[in-house]
């Protein structure tokens, strides 16, 4: 599906109808559904913020026998390496630029705190026993239960692909009741 990255409403409708509430999906807990949607939105917003292009492309598939969903968002805009260059005016290996961006608090935005979205995605993938794969420029980054894997392609991809694998047989509780009281948020 081709989407305007600023059209959050259409994207939300797409992931709700084509994925989260699709009749072929098994029963997922409310918490897991919410976490999957949040993780997907963090990728969507990352593309919205950093790619600088008018369209993104998204697709997904549910594999019932393997109990997993694969979901991908692709843009043909500025990738991790280019954004690192724009922020720091230093060249970094494309796979290292992705690795840097996956660390909580690291952001190429200027004057605005951030850099949490991809870290949240990684933490959720860890708990869900899922997988993250990112291709940007010639860099390849993968994170799964075996840890982090970096490599480099001989030919660069002119944009960024983020593929996430979610387990639908995840029985973890995603309730965080009591973790943050209203008094200590600020």
């Amino acid at each position: 599906m081709k989407l305007d990255p600023n059209d959050s409403r259409s994207f939300h409708e797409f992931i709700r109808t084509a994925l989260i509430e699709h009749p072929s999906l098994p029963h997922l807990s409310v918490g897991l559904k919410k976490k999957i949607q949040e993780a997907i939105f963090e990728i969507f917003v990352n593309a919205q913020t950093h790619s600088g292009v008018p369209y993104i492309f998204t697709c997904g598939q549910f594999f019932p026998k393997k109990h997993k969903i694969e979901f991908t968002i692709t843009d043909m805009g500025q990738g991790f390496r280019q954004n690192f260059w724009r922020r720091f005016e230093r060249d970094v290996a494309p796979e290292k630029a992705i690795e840097w961006a996956m660390v909580s608090g690291n952001t190429t935005k200027v004057g605005v705190p951030g850099g949490i979205g991809l870290a949240i995605l990684k933490e959720f993938a860890a708990k869900n026993n899922g997988k993250i794969q990112i291709v940007s420029d010639a860099g390849f980054y993968q994170w799964d239960a075996d840890g982090q894997h970096l490599s480099r392609f001989s030919c660069p991809f002119p944009g960024t692909i983020v593929n996430v694998q979610f387990r639908t047989d995840d029985r973890n509780s995603y309730s965080l009741v009591g973790e943050a009281s209203t008094d200590d948020i600020f």
Binding site: E42, K96, P113, L176
Partner: protein, 116 residues
Amino acid sequence: MTEKLFNVAEVAGTPLCVGAEDGETVFAVLKNALASGEECDVSFAGVEMLTSAFLNTAFGQLYGAFPEDLIRAKLRIRDMSEDDKALLKRVNDTAKLYYKDPDRMERSAQEILGDD
């Protein structure tokens, strides 16, 4: 001392509080209120989706404009799920570090370049 109630979804103009631009709208409103010395009840009723990007611009940026003590004294959160509160707390903690140590990002970039 005046007290105001803000509904985040109404201020942002959408129940999908995901994009940084919508976060900027909320930031501008909260910044004006805090600058005027108002106490603010901030309600998340009606919000269907939240991202860290939205919260970073809406709330994280406040730490670049006001002291932590003032923000804590003047802002109160309502109608927010426990896991969304945990996300907002993480955003705020990250923002505090960001403004307290502006060179951290450069050092972090240097570390990854050193690895190269």
